[in-house]
């Protein structure tokens, strides 16, 4: 087998050294009744040539952004991933290393994580970041857990304009956490601060999304204020790619900022793996979930990096840990670091400006009624004369995926299409979308 290196001679010598005659003897400790007495019933082995052919055939039956002009977003965005990221992903040292438990062996990955934590703090305007969570949904559950344990409150308030998958995951975790989940409906596409103030009463945390799931810009500072007013921790669920233009959550009083990192450094990849980021104010650091890298010195006083504050973690604190997370999303988080380094402050700002401008252009070009009057950033909800699902089906036959059917999550929005614009789309692409929609509507 290509991946195994023992020769028959090796096996003989090794069995002799162990003092058994056959490999089977090594499994004698397994009761016969629970041993599998037949071959696994799985497809036969494929040589690499055929393996690649088989997977290429499967890949060939997916309508990816290279064969279909797509305006899908709704949480996962087709931003450009720079080629320098390939350098990171192709370095075997990063690819095949694990969690840096032994700092002397892993200064490179430790320093990279420290740099990642720094850019996350910079973008969110907060003090501390962990080394990544699973994705934009699980970090939301983590944040609620932290909020509960840093308040003596058991209620969390979620904006209805928060990504439905995020709300869904929070609810799944809530039972185990002993949390009550309350949702605040939107008014015209965003959350009303007064509604939020009411709901926030004795809540541990309030979570809203900026830009929100409809693509609208929330009155985030007011929402954060309303929550804080009620003694609840304001938590913003943000898009890193927007933070070159939009205010940092820390700057308008958020206790924590979390989100899905995919838009920065990861291709859509049918939903993962991506990375969730988690940033918070200093006061929460000892309740934070996940790995955290800190700076220290070695015996010679040289700067060095190491996993720190581990007394929060499961391998030390076990049932008292702040989380059970072990394997995280380091490699993807580092892809985010590399992308942000490549963009720099100007690049990040430019990407935001281009997406913003394209979205305004789309609003006017598509000539369809806007569902909400609110300002937007890179995504807009338009009303169609027909059910969005049907329009999508018809548009796809013309090689264009026009966007996301909001009716999937909001039954009353069956005729609403959510159109996402990244810097990879051009005005000409928007013109084509307009033409196709005109044709199928």
């Amino acid at each position: 087998m290509s991946y195994l290196g023992l020769t028959d001679a090796d096996r003989e010598e090794m069995l002799a050294a162990i003092g058994v005659a056959t490999v089977d003897e090594l499994f004698a400790q397994i009761p016969a009744s629970v041993r599998l007495d037949r071959d696994l019933d799985v497809p036969p082995a494929l040589p690499e040539v055929q393996l690649v052919a088989h997977l290429s055939e499967l890949a060939g039956r997916n309508a990816h952004t290279g064969v279909e002009l797509s305006f899908l977003g709704a949480g996962i965005y087709d931003h450009y991933v720079p080629a320098v990221v390939d350098v990171l992903l192709s370095r075997g040292e990063f690819l095949t290393a694990y969690t840096p438990y032994q700092p002397e062996m892993s200064q490179g990955v430790l320093q990279a994580i420290f740099e990642y934590q720094t850019v996350i703090c910079e973008l969110t305007g907060l003090d501390v970041s962990n080394a990544s969570g699973y994705d934009g949904t699980t970090v939301a559950a983590d944040a609620c857990f932290v909020a509960k344990h840093t308040s003596d409150r058991a209620k969390v308030v979620l904006a209805e304009t928060l990504n439905p998958q995020v709300r869904h995951v929070v609810k799944t975790y809530a039972t185990g956490f002993g949390l009550e989940v309350v949702e605040v409906p939107h008014r015209g596409g965003t959350i009303d601060p007064d509604d939020l103030a009411v709901a926030s009463a004795d809540a541990a945390a309030v979570m809203f999304q900026q830009p929100n799931f409809f693509g609208c810009l929330e009155p985030a500072p007011e929402l954060a204020a309303a929550a804080a007013e009620a003694g609840a921790h304001p938590i913003a669920h943000v898009d890193l790619m927007s933070l070159g233009l939009l205010e940092a959550p820390g700057a308008y009083g958020c206790a924590m900022a979390i989100g899905e990192g995919q838009s920065v450094g990861c291709p859509p990849l049918y939903g993962g793996p991506h990375y969730g980021f988690f940033a918070a104010r200093q006061e929460f650091v000892r309740r934070m979930p996940g790995r955290i890298v800190g700076e220290t010195v070695d015996l010679d006083g040289e700067r060095a990096f190491v996993l720190t504050l581990q007394t929060r973690e499961q391998h030390i604190r076990r049932e008292k840990a702040t989380s059970n997370i072990t394997t995280n999303q380091t490699l993807l988080a580092l892809a985010g670091l590399v992308t942000l380094t490549w963009l720099g402050p100007q690049g990040l700002r430019e990407v935001g400006e281009t997406c913003f401008a394209l979205t305004e252009y789309a609003k006017e070009r598509l000539g369809l009624p806007l569902v909400f009057e609110r300002p937007t950033f890179k995504e807009v909800a338009v009303r169609l004369p027909r059910p969005a699902r049907d329009v999508i089906r018809d548009a796809r036959t013309l090689g264009v995926h026009p966007g996301y059917a909001l009716g999937r999550d909001y039954p009353e929005m069956d005729d609403v299409l959510l159109v996402a614009l990244t810097e990879k789309r051009t005005p000409a692409d928007v013109d084509r979308l307009a033409a196709v929609l005109a044709e199928v509507c």
Binding site: Y3, P44, N62, T96, F177, P221, R317, A357, R393
Partner: protein
Amino acid sequence: MELIFEKSRVGRRAGRAPDYGLPKPELPLELRRTHPPRLPEVAEPEIVRHITALADRTFGVDTGFYPLGSCTMKHNPRVNERVGGLPGFRDLHPHQEDEGAQGALELMWRLQAILAEIAGLPAVTLQPAAGSQGELTGLMLMRAYFRDRGEERDTIVTADTAHGTNPASVTMAGFRLERVETDARGNLDLDDLRGKVNERTAGLMLTNPSTLGLFDEGIEEVARIFHDAGALLYYDGANLNAVVGISRPGDMGFDIVHYNLHKTFSQPHGGGGPGGGPVAVRDTIESYLPAPVVVRDGDVYRLDHDRPKSIGRVRGFAGPFGVFVRSYAFMRAYGPELREMSEVAVLNANYVLARLKDVYDLPYDRICMHEFVLSARNLKREHGITALDVAKRLMDHRIHPPTIYFPLVVPEALMIEPTETETKERLDGFVDAMRRIAEEAAESPEVLKEAPHSRPVRRLDEVRAAKQPVLRYLFDEHPALVS
């Protein structure tokens, strides 16, 4: 080495966004960013050198032997990276309609089928992001199962050898924890166990082979005890690499199983992640699985979101798809010979064990499975040399240290997992290094205390890191660099 922020200079840049010459709209003033983020300003050449230099200071399986116990640091076949990068996968949007994702859905469906066969259980969810989340998912499934039956069960039993994620998951899932002892042979202590299982017991969480690398010889009786009490058994799949095609958790009596795709099925560990933690269950539990689930109707595959009894979703979309591509490719490269993968993993471990047990203490003297746990307590007693010292000294042999001080039941533990992808020469090199270190413990203990001697840094002041945490770059100490 400099941090990327120290290589930053105002005005340098690499990436540019296209400017399509459209009018520049204005953001509402109160929402605009007031201070630009201090992202590094570096041109591409130094970005590439920075990544390269960081890689040179990182040790991976590609660099050398990495017997990190419980983590299954096997070789990561490169063809998996190649197929993982196919545009048809990489650039596929997760909201794509099912008709436009048939290839991806078929891959997941086929992966579910292979995983089910390996576990000996019929139903699989691919959603969990890693083993730990698989555990949490499994416990949520238990809760839903008993609630549906109107049973009040609030306790989960774990072994004293359990990995920390097990108790942590128990807490996160809102259960009470009950710990059971390990007996002299390294199996669960059945007497202790019997006393701890009752009508409040929801289930057991067990790693088998255990974190001692030993298969629980009483597993059938263990299963009987729980099932007789109406409780369920959860299998922590972290050590599945020992038994693929040899013994199936479902046949052992487990009702819920998680897999660590990044261990047994070779998703690269990526310096900490990503991973994958699918969960397989008995048919009695299937209806509670997280939605969506991949189903097949004739020749058509689709995501089934309509699962009324589902515990709900535990992460976004249908799971870490890129991990599925790699693990599926890995399994297809082996086919039924996956059994050989586990046989060689166990053979390699026993060979190393056989050649080391005369110089290090072996708390449980048995044939091991894919890994084993030695103790450096003899070196500590005789020379004051700890497991940590041994670990640090191994670095000077260009070998990554094993897992140390775990499991907790073994003092000065050295948990060694060679994996199946190592050659005999590599194993011999490790044995020679470990034996040499045992000699050095007697001859020149100070050399060990000072180790490592050949790494970019020496031992670190970890106390300072925790006492005065510096968790991000402090720009204010370097004003010159700030934009």
